[in-house]
Symmetry: C2
DNA sequence: CTTATCTATTTAGACAGTCTAAATATTAAG
DNA sequence: CTTAATATTTAGACTGTCTAAATAGATAAG
């Protein structure tokens, strides 16, 4: 099973988070984690210790907005923080997509995986 | 001018070095630096402080072999260390290319840049 | 001869974002 | 009451970038 190491993920994790929020709508941290694991087909070995700090960075940067979930529907477990994309985050996502494309073009070009 | 940040480069630099050695043959550090800058069309802002440590790691790992250049042809400047790919390095390069492809597929898939 | 310049390597230290690992919290189920 | 499931938080290690400068040799310029 191929796996993506932490080093490779660096600098891309925040973009991935923004992307799942854009595609599947608002979610709490743990669900974002599961969405990413699922979308990564097991290649993404993402840990809480990486995800939650990334969410805080995004929140501080105004790219996501977080709210504590109400306790209206009784459920198992502690209160959850629901994250959703802000307009600023959506713009950042668009820019990051272009940056990723550029990154792939440059690095892929040197590696000869595209040429 | 789009630029690739250090974070994104992380975990890919050693592969890039192996690739330029494979494609353009042996070279000393400074030339590798210039080859990468040239191949990156200015998007790669690579620094000596990143390159030389990476070369030492590759050497320790047996993926490149380094030799001090002889002083036969008089030239300006200090002696240079010439690096060339080892068979082990060539195998690592092949594996790393596949890993990069996988990385692009997974991350690109989540970002929606390929789908 | 002295100084400046070009080329190249080395290295100290800062920085940031992963990871490991565990602590904490809440509620349902048994 | 205890156990299990869910979710968040956080301390600390690790590593590979970056900044920045020190070191160095050889030739060119004056």
């Amino acid at each position: 099973m191929p796996s993506i190491t932490g080093d490779s993920l660096r600098g891309h994790l925040e973009t991935l988070i923004l992307s799942v929020l854009k595609r599947s709508g608002e979610a709490h941290g743990f669900e974002i984690l599961k969405r990413l694991e699922s979308a990564g087909s097991g290649a993404l070995n993402l840990k809480e210790g990486s995800l939650y700090p990334a969410l805080y960075r995004l929140e501080r940067a105004g790219q996501v907005k977080a709210e504590w979930e109400s306790n209206s529907t009784p459920r198992r477990g502690p209160r959850r923080r629901i994250y959703r994309l802000t307009p600023k985050g959506a713009r950042r996502l668009e820019a990051a997509r272009n940056e990723f494309q550029n990154f792939v073009t440059i690095v892929g070009g040197i590696l000869g995986t595209t040429a």
